[in-house]
Symmetry: C2
Subunit: 306 residues, 2 copies
């Protein structure tokens, strides 16, 4: 039976590409393993896989009885609902340590870097296995995406070094241009249903017993979102109600201005003030310099909820 | 402020030596870091540190406000009581993934091998840093201890390979003899208070909401324990009551016969039958071939409690 490797719900480019890369590496180490995704590809991920002619993983949502590796998450809220019936062989991630537990010893490579694919690059090196050209290309894109072309507070020297080596392996000479092409695809919102935009890069967290959803849209210019903003505000209120959530926050991140406008739907907006020292107006607030959900938003909110 | 690195409560040789080794490695990588232990050294650990002339870490039990690395555990029940007020920078371990969580990204090296020191050996190699002779010696002993000189079901090829390299680095030619010397020290019980024997290698687990303690004494011949067995049986009943535990199990492991007699103090002895298919008599049962708490006892008990 094939082992499955997959990233979090609402897969982003790192979750998709890390699953594909880890499957490639583990296959070369002798395991029978297939990458999977927990939901449909985003336009950005589609662009990346098409650019490097890599097949999209199948969407799988039930993992009971399977051997699995998790990539890019260790939070139950982002895992399949039946993860408890799966056998977790390992986790490769770059986030805080979540609430996934196991009853058997496992293999974890979790590093405080900008992207899971940076960790997997080191795993290839550690095992002295060469990264194929196409896999190097998608891993490079995942790092550019997660680090917002090296601008995010999460970006480390290890990410930059990995990108340099991956660009060489993939035959890419202008990394910056590749990144901007990708973010232009990511910025396009025309014709996309509003719920799809909210969920495009969305994660639920358990914060001190409260269910808190945090979505993020990264664009090359916030004005792109002007015509859909009112609908986004309405939709996060709906999403909050549907899931019995305490809050839903949607970060509209301007990757050029380097900051985020947060749209707020919450039972208690004061958590935002507690977390960031900024006062929301009309359930919105601009956070200058805040680009990383993982490093700048989640830890501050967790403290505010504690 | 110095970062602290420490293993689990009731430190065994791996918890002590892994903390010392990780501190050495991280120091060489530029961190200010000191090893610590959560409790007194066992006779085995004392023997090992004295043999290789390595200083014993200080006993530290409060870590609030400190930056810390955990080694050899990721279970809150085995962590300091104020771990929630510490900042966890990383975990190096070889057990199941426990219930420790963080709100910041961290560095985890957790591998399904026989000993934390085997993982740390790979971390030295990954960072291309040479292991000092004395540190290599104590790491070798930790692996010999945790794998019961390669006899345990937890022992992997990686452990054996690490020992080969570490023995060379430490100038040890007869690894087997070193292991037996260590286990002879470990087997000595004369003059040791009975509670100290019960707690010598003891861990509490949360199994489906029940507090379950599992201790282990490894000896070169079970007859060594004949004169203290009645006292051990009485003491685990007392220990069970004191801590509001559902069960305390004490494994008396014969490393030559390769099996364990389990002494049982439990609200429901049938969990043993469920877990191992063997029926206790007079609150005792012999489990042939069972030597590893981690790989053979904990997973089966967790299933029985589920």
């Amino acid at each position: 039976m094939s082992t499955l490797v997959f990233g979090h719900k609402n897969p982003d480019t790192d979750s998709v590409c890390a699953a594909i890369a880890l499957a490639d590496l583990k296959k070369k180490l002798g395991e029978t393993i297939t990458p999977a995704i927990q939901g449909e590809l985003t336009p950005e991920s589609k662009f990346v896989l098409e650019k490097f002619k890599v097949a999209a993983p199948a969407v799988v949502t039930s993992f009971a009885g399977k051997d699995v590796y998790l990539v890019d998450h260790s939070d139950l809220a982002q895992s399949p609902d039946d993860l408890g019936e799966a056998n977790i062989l390992g986790i490769v991630d770059h986030h805080k340590l979540g609430d996934v537990t196991t009853s058997q010893p496992l293999e974890c490579w979790i590093w405080p870097v900008g992207c899971t694919c940076t960790v997997i690059k080191s795993m290839y090196d550690f095992n002295k296995i060469e990264i194929p050209k196409d896999i190097a290309g998608i891993m490079l894109c995942a790092i550019l995406s997660d680090t917002v072309i090296f601008k995010s507070a999460t970006c480390t020297d290890a990410d930059k070094k990995a990108c340099e080596a991956l660009a060489k392996a993939a035959g890419i000479t202008d990394t910056q241009a590749l990144g901007m092409d990708m973010f232009k695809v990511k910025s396009a919102v025309d014709g996309t249903p509003v719920r799809e935009l909210v969920l495009r890069d969305y994660k639920d967290f358990n914060m001190n017993g409260k269910k808190v959803g945090i979505g993020q849209l990264e664009v090359v210019d916030l004005s792109i979102l002007d015509k859909v903003k009112a609908d986004l505000e309405k939709d996060i209120i709906a999403l909050k109600k549907e899931g019995g959530r305490h809050s839903v926050f949607l970060l509209l991140t301007d990757i050029i201005k380097e900051g985020s406008e947060v749209l707020i739907a919450s039972d208690d907006e004061s958590v935002i003030e507690k977390a960031f020292g900024a006062t929301p107006k009309n359930s919105k607030v601009w956070l200058d310099g805040v680009m990383s959900r993982k490093k700048q938003v989640v830890p501050n909110l967790e403290k505010a909820f504690a």
